[in-house]
């Protein structure tokens, strides 16, 4: 008899690097200090728009230990980068507050920082505009929103359908700019040696970073190695190449020595993206049974003058509910702000706040239970495309969640429950996130002694990627996961896409599954093994290249119980319960932490997080973790994640959908709807801080 724990699919296998992380032996990008390493400190622009007219570095260079100062006058010239935010120190233009305008390189971090403080910069200031309004004169309709989605989709005649609807909702919701703020700040250590550039970078995908560096420095990718062995969170902000990789490489080339650079927390906000603020008008029309006749979702958002990024917040309305008439529109204006980018569930997180709040308003207007309203609008096929769903578990999630949460005992009347000084309420919202997958390669190797090794340039940003990939390989090979070594996190390994779009496990796992399956077949033929073992390689170009005839999405339902202090307006989430239908769950332990992590981030979005923008200076005002309030343990009382097993054959060989982002989708709406149930106040702007609730309290 074996005493080993059963390794069934989805087993809650412990993260392989957990011990290294909790004991501090795991090495992150800035933990390396190669011999002779220099330290770089960036100097951010202190004006919101204009030009750098002079940088006087005499005093900075006089600081003991300062090696050199790079500015647009003397920095290595780059080729046009693949992302305009990487064109740092190339010209005198200041496109927004915080844009890096100089780099001070020194023998120590302290000297670099002191030197940065001694740098005298003069600017020519231009007028600037950092304030998004729904009638901003610069608003235009872009071609596409993020993810390649068309900016506008129209079905039927929404205006007419709305005019004729028995019940209508017409409401405008606002979300503020938000920041990802991963625990580990963006950092890079770069070494040029013998014509080869090695960068240890805190990124969500080093293959992509290598491409960016190759392009920017005009190098053959073979002459670049990028390593992202351990990454302390990214939430999208490390999904694209960020300036630290370019700046560190630039400084290493300029000085001929290894260079380490870490963006300090207060600078991060302006160089690593933000979730763009949105103003969203949602109009719903329904008949008296609650069947939708019209859905209109119009987004107004901001981008920067550096690049166009359009938060695709109207896209989930193309997926969620059946309606014969639909209009989904994005408009954007370029402001003098840092470039917005991906933050956990870009599009879905913002858009589902508005859509799911509007659904709650519709349920109230109809006097219909909000779960029932959603069930009555389940589509046969994907509303926008007409494609069949590969699987759609929304109704199951709503029903299962309602049962687990105790939803059916709910008294629908608002402002009718009080426990001591707390006004109590419950709310529900749906969640959705698309199934994305990208081409990946991987290799599997069996050594003569039987040792098994998987190699793939996946990135573990805290999700447990190593562990899940071992499970996938082990299942294909018919062995225990512990018997499989998994090497990830370096461009020396087979090329693989980034950890983003909740697609990492599907993309890497598919290639790993394919390579491991091929290896298993070869192993069955070869006994004994040749001296140098057997290696199989896999490339999923063909499998992932075909567009699926199916609409593929994960779904979920969030249920929240909130307590609002009747005296102060403070909102606390007492319970948050999510149920997800996301294909096959590959590791119950790491999956749960992805789901609940997303839900916690949703609490922050609902109640506390707000970058603030200062119209007088053009910068974000909450730039550290003391002022930018992410939820703390005390804000996260009772959080539960459950899932419904789905057997969906139209996904990938593992049968999985992405799980990294759906936990945040709809969470803010569920909380907002619960607050409305508790107080009777329908607030349409996040976050729901005490000052916003006070006017509605007796």
């Amino acid at each position: 008899m074996t005493t080993r724990a059963p390794q069934f699919p989805g087993a809650p296998v412990v993260r392989r690097e957990a011990r290294d992380k909790v004991t501090g032996t795991a090495r992150y990008a800035a933990d390396l200090a190669p011999a002779g390493c220099l330290y770089a400190w960036t100097v951010p622009a202190t004006v919101a728009a204009g030009r750098v007219t002079a940088v006087r570095a005499v005093d900075a260079l006089a600081v003991p230990g300062v090696h050199s100062v790079l500015t647009h006058d003397n920095a290595p010239e780059l080729q046009e980068p693949d992302d305009p935010i990487l064109a740092v120190l190339q010209d005198d233009r200041v496109p927004h507050h915080g844009w890096p305008i100089a780099l001070v390189i020194a023998e120590s971090l302290e000297a670099a920082r002191t030197g940065a403080g001694e740098l005298h910069v003069e600017y020519e200031r231009d007028p600037y505009d950092v304030t998004l309004t729904d009638d901003h004169p610069g608003l235009y309709t872009p071609e596409e929103a993020n993810g390649g989605h068309p900016a506008v989709r129209v079905r039927g005649d929404v205006e007419r359908a709305l005019a004729g609807a028995s019940v209508q909702v017409d409401a405008t919701y606002r979300t503020v700019a938000l920041h990802n703020h991963p625990m580990e700040p963006h950092a890079a250590t770069a070494v040029w040696a013998d014509g080869h550039l090695t960068v240890h970078d805190s990124s969500q995908g080093s293959s992509r970073v290598r491409e960016s560096l190759a392009r920017a420095f005009g190098l053959d990718p073979d002459r670049i190695t990028v390593v992202s062995e351990h990454v302390g969170g990214g939430f999208g902000s490390k999904g694209t190449t960020r300036p630290q990789a370019v700046l560190a490489a630039m400084a290493a080339r300029h000085t001929g020595r290894p260079v380490k650079m870490v963006f300090p927390r207060p600078q991060l906000a302006e160089v690593v993206g933000h979730r763009a603020p949105t103003i969203q008008r949602v109009r719903l029309g329904a008949d008296l049974d609650g069947v939708l006749t019209a859905v209109s979702h119009e987004i107004v958002t901001q981008t920067s003058t550096v690049k166009e990024f359009v938060e695709q917040a109207a896209v989930p309305a193309r997926v969620m509910y059946a309606s014969p008439h639909s209009r989904t529109v994005h408009r954007v204006t370029a402001l003098d702000v840092p470039s917005p980018s991906w933050m956990r569930a870009p599009g879905e997180a913002s858009g589902m706040y508005a859509l799911e709040s509007a659904m709650d308003e519709l349920a109230s207007a109809l006097g219909l239970d909000p779960v029932e309203l959603r069930l009555r609008n389940e589509p046969e096929t994907e509303p926008d495309s007409g494609r069949p769903f590969s699987s759609r578990g929304l109704a199951a999630c709503l029903r299962d969640g309602a049962a687990r949460f105790g939803w059916h005992d709910r008294d629908p009347r608002p402002a009718a429950r009080q426990e001591g000084r707390w006004l109590m309420g419950t709310g529900v919202a749906s969640a959705t996130y698309p199934v994305l997958v990208s081409r990946s390669t991987a290799s599997a190797h069996a050594a003569r002694d039987g040792a098994l090794r998987i190699a793939v340039n996946a990135t573990d940003i805290g999700t447990g990627a190593r562990t899940v990939l071992a499970q996938i390989a082990a299942e294909a090979l018919g062995v225990d996961p512990e018997a499989v070594r998994v090497d990830i996190g370096s461009t020396d390994l087979p090329v693989a896409p980034l950890a983003g779009g909740s697609s990492g496990t599907a993309s890497w796992g598919w290639a790993v599954h394919k390579a491991a399956t091929a290896l298993a077949a070869r192993l069955a033929e070869h006994r004994p093994l040749p001296a140098d073992g057997i290696t199989t390689t896999a490339d999923t170009e063909e499998e992932t290249g075909e567009e699926s005839p199916y609409a593929r999405h994960a779904f979920g339902a969030h249920f929240a119980e909130t307590a609002v202090d009747a005296v102060t307006g403070e909102v606390r989430v007492r319970r948050l319960l999510g149920v997800y239908a996301a294909g096959r769950i590959l590791n119950a332990r790491t999956a749960r932490s992805q789901f609940t992590g997303g839900m916690v981030m949703g609490i922050g979005m609902a109640l506390t997080e707000d970058c603030g923008i200062d119209p007088d200076f053009g910068d974000f005002t909450a730039r550290d973790l003391a002022s930018y309030h992410v939820p703390v343990c005390a804000d996260t009382a009772d959080i539960q994640a459950h899932w419904i097993e789905e057997d969906d054959r139209h996904l990938n060989p593992m049968g999985s959908k992405g799980i990294g982002e759906i936990g945040i989708v709809g969470t803010a709406a569920a909380i907002g709807n619960a607050v409305r149930h508790a107080t009777g106040a329908r607030l349409r702007e996040l976050p729901l801080t005490p000052d916003t609730l006070l006017p509605y309290l007796l």
């Binding site: 307006g569 007088d616 005002t621 000052d691």
Partner: protein, 336 residues
């Protein structure tokens, strides 16, 4: 952070001597605020005189039944001290409402009193701030000021004092003992922190080189109940939007004793003297409380984005006074 000297004096006298020896010396307690400010470039001391190891961490009963709190007593230790939890619960509650467990383990009593405002302009050296750089201006007045003052501010400064502990100490009529080059003196806590006026760079009346050695509490008001409540944006680890510390004794339906202090509303803990005067001897009813609080807050001058604080202060204080009154009547019902 610029290089700095670091010394650990063996006695309070030596500490004072070291700090008085030249400009640019700062006392270091738990370092939970000063070190942050050094990292931000707001503070650049020439030398740190580390007083955290001095034997000033004792909490002892005074001869008259009050409490002497050593300046280096850690916030955590003070919050859990039996004499504090028994006789001054408002102080324990205020301490536990502040910061996080880790910070409270490090922060000292003296350092807590001397912490600086968290006004975002004060902390950002790329911007003007009259408190950091006198005469440079106050962008907070028209800028980001939701968390800032509604009472006692000046055209030069709208900062708030961030301490929770100090609000409770204000309500408890604490005294601050200072040791300086010219000897020892005492200052009532309510007079220790200043209003900004034209000199917002001066948070307190402390003189150069003076060291806080202890904070002394008078004996607890006989029969009074006390309470600290704090409204904030998240459940923990956030500064007060508004906080209220109160002590109250009600007898036969009348207020026999009342002290009231507000946090998060001014450049210093705001002792609500006017409200107290109205309360004393008056019937302990919500209408009376309401009237007293409105009188106190009549002089509030909120800024564009912190108007809510006037209402929030009134509501929270009203609720605290109501809670204390209810506890007093429950107590007298049991004992009577």
């Amino acid at each position: 952070m610029k290089p700095f000297g670091y010394v650990r004096p063996a006695s309070t006298d030596e500490a004072v001597r070291l700090c008085a020896a030249g400009p640019g010396a700062r006392f270091l307690g738990g370092g939970t605020n000063l070190v942050d400010l050094m990292k931000l470039g707001v503070e650049a001391p020439r030398v740190l005189v580390d007083v955290a190891g001095l034997p000033l961490d004792r909490v002892t009963r005074t001869a008259d039944g009050g409490l002497s709190i050593g300046a280096t007593a850690r916030n955590s230790d003070l919050a859990a001290h039996p004499d504090v939890t028994r006789s001054y619960p408002v102080l324990s509650q205020a301490l536990l409402a502040g910061a996080s467990g880790q910070l409270r383990n490090s922060a000292t009593t003296g350092g807590n009193l001397l912490q600086r405002t968290r006004c975002r302009y004060f902390q950002d050296v790329s911007k003007p701030c009259n408190k950091r750089l006198p005469g440079s201006g106050c962008p907070a007045r028209e800028g980001t000021h939701r968390d800032l003052a509604i009472l006692g501010h000046s055209p030069e400064c709208v900062a708030t004092h961030p301490s929770d502990m100090a609000v409770a100490l204000a309500a408890l009529d604490a005294t601050v003992v200072l040791l300086g080059p010219e000897g020892e003196r005492t200052v009532p806590l309510t007079g220790f922190h200043r209003l900004p006026g034209e000199n917002p760079d001066q948070d307190t009346v402390i003189r150069p080189g003076e060291l806080i050695t202890e904070v002394v509490l008078p004996p607890p008001a006989p029969g009074a109940a006390s309470r600290y409540r704090k409204a904030r944006d998240r459940a923990s680890f956030a500064f007060a939007l508004v906080s209220v510390a109160a002590t109250l004794r009600v007898e036969a339906g009348r207020v026999e004793h009342a002290t009231l202090a507000f946090g998060g509303v001014a450049h210093r803990p705001w002792r609500a003297r006017r409200a107290e005067a109205e309360l004393r001897g008056a019937p302990a009813t919500p209408a009376v409380f309401q009237h007293a609080l409105i009188a106190e807050l009549a002089e509030a001058r909120p800024l564009r984005d912190n108007v809510f604080k006037v209402d929030l202060t009134r509501r929270l204080a009203l609720d605290v006074l109501g809670e204390l009154t209810a506890r007093q009547s429950a107590l007298s019902a049991r004992t009577g």
